[in-house]
């Protein structure tokens, strides 16, 4: 019997650069020490995730915000506990380790010929960034592309250079909003759903896939808005976050309803999420 590859063994990576995003959230640009690992990993799909090991702290799951069409690999991480804080303490040149990619990801190629509507709140933009960049890299495959993104304050807007570029770009509609204006904000003020009611905004329902990611409250309101507009539950996609230890369907921690979120997800339709029967 030949020995199988060890799914739990991470590969060493080097931290190249750290970019401050918003309060407590930073983007960590990295590359694998071994170029062969980098090439193998680059075949990931938008919406997949990786398991990140920080020496001495432990391992945790993180989404892959880059698109496979981009060159650089990075994570965008909020510091919340032991592992994430340890990552935030690393300096360029330091090593950590990564294994993956894991999970189903968004079936972006199945959506060819459809309208794509991205609705994100706060750090919910992290997993959706990959899809957006991927869709724009293959612009001709899709019909309308719309982005609706909201944050608490202007300072809490993620990936600001990307947002500015998307706002300017031809062929996409990108609208931003904040709950509370400050710092000379002249844009929309209100929850994400308020963008749908702005003059000139029209979200097509026919032949459309909606991507929704954000904090639980935002998620519930946006889902209600979309259903009111006439979206079917299976037209709405999201990603689930669960406590994960292995990422490969063995440890049982992420198991809800009939799904192991790490292998059957993290991407689900709203119809599936409802059936899984736990809190978002």
């Amino acid at each position: 019997m030949s020995s199988t590859e060890n799914i739990y063994l991470p590969k060493v990576v080097q931290l190249d650069r750290v970019v401050d995003e918003i309060h407590e959230v930073r983007t960590f640009v990295w590359h694998f020490e071994d170029p062969a690992d980098q090439a193998a990993f680059k075949k990931f799909r938008p919406g997949q995730f990786a398991q990140v090991s920080i020496f001495g702290a432990g391992e945790f799951p993180a989404s892959l915000p880059p698109s496979p069409t981009e060159n650089e690999m990075f994570f965008t991480i909020r510091t919340v506990g032991g592992c994430t804080a340890a990552l935030h303490r690393l300096q360029p040149g330091d090593r950590f380790a990564v294994r993956g990619p894991y999970g189903n990801g968004f079936p972006m190629d199945d959506y060819a010929g459809k309208n794509l509507v991205f609705v994100a709140g706060g750090i919910g933009l992290i997993p959706l960034r990959s899809c957006i960049v991927y869709a724009l890299a293959h612009r001709e495959r899709y019909e309308r592309i719309q982005i609706y993104y909201g944050a608490k304050t202007p300072r809490e807007l993620m990936y600001l250079p990307n947002l500015r570029a998307w706002e300017q770009a031809a062929g996409i509609e990108c609208q931003l909003t904040v709950d509370r204006a400050s710092d000379g904000w002249t844009g929309n003020v209100g929850v994400v759903g308020s963008l749908f009611k702005r003059p000139g905004v029209h979200v097509p329902v026919e032949n459309t896939v909606a991507f929704v990611c954000g904090p639980p409250v935002m998620f519930r309101f946006v889902i209600r808005d979309l259903l009111d507009m006439g979206f079917r539950e299976d037209q709405i996609m999201s990603t689930l976050e669960r406590y994960m230890k292995c990422g490969v369907g063995k440890c049982g921690h992420c198991c809800i309803g009939v799904a192991y979120v790490c292998v059957d997800g993290p991407v689900f339709t709203y119809e599936q999420i409802k059936k899984l029967g736990e809190d978002i």
Partner: protein
């Protein structure tokens, strides 16, 4: 049937034969009805017991240790980090394992080796494992009120996943059946005698007799699988079950078919760490707690619900082609709140039979009898 007959005294010869090239684990008896698995040595080999009360601690730990080091992480003098996986490659024989526990190993095989990812640690342990199944035939010693292998369709005689199966035919004779080529190889030892048609007939008669000595009945399990799969079980019933659970985790730790684990890193030196995994339990509050304190599974009955849903939902039985309960009855024996598997099956069946629409026998949900 690839069968032979050995005498009572030959059983120890068989153990010694296996000990020539592997470590042998066998059941022993402590005081009263206490029994346990241990490594066979020159000193204890005479005390191996083939008929034993069910050891509460299943032999699962020999394929899935409760704590195991996955890897060492070290930084070399040159400043490079590397990972060294830690595999157990010792050849092992589990001797005298009851049929439910053999089915437990088969379930772990399905779970850890099946589907898209293979667990390299489990795989290596399993590859080096030789399984000698002992059929439960003594209603006074082997079988107790909690046993329901007949119901889970795993016993009293295992059908697969063993290398060799022994059955006490009475009168100082044991029938040995080979389940694999490795098992059959042993038959070249001189003490194996040919089995006659009379021996095989005795085996059949004994099994029929023994099946009648179990307290449980088959249909209950199948009905409960269907109720759970169809979502018929009332919240009230889950709550009643949850209210009786003390969240000790014992049911999961004695279960030969539970698979969940957690992973933790610890420091072993300067710039040197180890990553270990250990058994975890869905009965415990922290199991699904996420960073930041949000816990999607809040109430106790949500967690209890989880264990039985995961074990009995038709979806998962199909997914692994094997059910995550093998009917060993250990959870019933250890649970302070009497919410072990047999009582839960009964509680659900009773409460749901009244409330739910009748079961359609032609429905696509199969009975609990799922064999691969």
């Amino acid at each position: 049937m690839r069968a032979r007959v050995i005498g009572e005294a030959d059983v120890l010869r068989l153990v010694d034969l296996l000990r020539q090239d592997r470590q042998v684990i066998a059941p022993f008896c402590g005081r009263g009805r206490d029994s346990y698995f241990d490594v066979v040595t020159d000193v204890n080999r005479d005390r191996i017991r083939l008929h034993v009360p069910n050891p509460l601690y299943p032999p699962k730990r020999y394929v899935l240790p409760h704590i195991e080091r996955l890897m060492r992480m070290r930084r070399s003098a040159a400043g490079l980090w590397n990972f060294q996986p830690d595999y157990a490659e010792t050849p092992l024989a589990l001797f005298g394992v009851r049929s439910c526990d053999v089915a437990g190993v088969r379930h772990l095989d399905r779970f850890y080796l099946g589907r898209e990812y293979v667990d390299a640690y489990y795989e290596r342990r399993r590859r080096n494992l030789f399984v000698v199944n002992m059929v439960c035939t003594d209603p006074e010693v082997d079988i107790d009120d909690n046993c329901f292998c007949v119901c889970a369709d795993t016993g009293p005689a295992a059908r697969d996943a063993f290398d060799l199966q022994l059955m006490d035919l009475g009168g100082g004779e044991y029938l040995a059946v080979a389940g694999t080529a490795a098992g059959e190889d042993l038959f070249s030892a001189p003490f194996f005698r040919p089995a006659t048609a009379a021996h095989v007939e005795r085996r059949r008669a004994i099994l029929t007799e023994v099946r009648g000595r179990f307290r449980s009945t088959t249909s209950w399990f199948a009905a409960t699988v269907r109720y759970i799969s169809r979502g018929d079980v009332l919240d009230k019933t889950w709550e009643e079950i949850g209210n009786r659970c003390l969240e000790c985790g014992a049911c999961t730790f004695v279960c030969p078919a539970c698979t969940c684990f957690t992973v933790s890193d610890r420091r072993t030196g300067k710039e040197e760490y180890e990553r270990v995994r250990m058994w975890d339990s869905c009965a415990l509050k922290g199991f699904t707690r996420m960073a930041g304190g949000f816990n999607p599974r809040r109430a106790v009955h949500d967690r209890r619900n989880r264990r039985f849903f995961r074990k009995l939902a038709h979806y998962f039985i199909q997914r692994e082609l094997s059910m995550a309960c093998v009917g060993c009855g250990r959870c019933a024996a250890v649970c302070h709140g009497d919410v072990g598997m047999p009582s839960v099956v009964e509680m659900i069946r009773r409460a749901t039979a009244i409330a739910a629409p009748p079961l359609d026998e032609s429905s696509t949900v199969p009975s609990a009898k799922v064999t691969a």
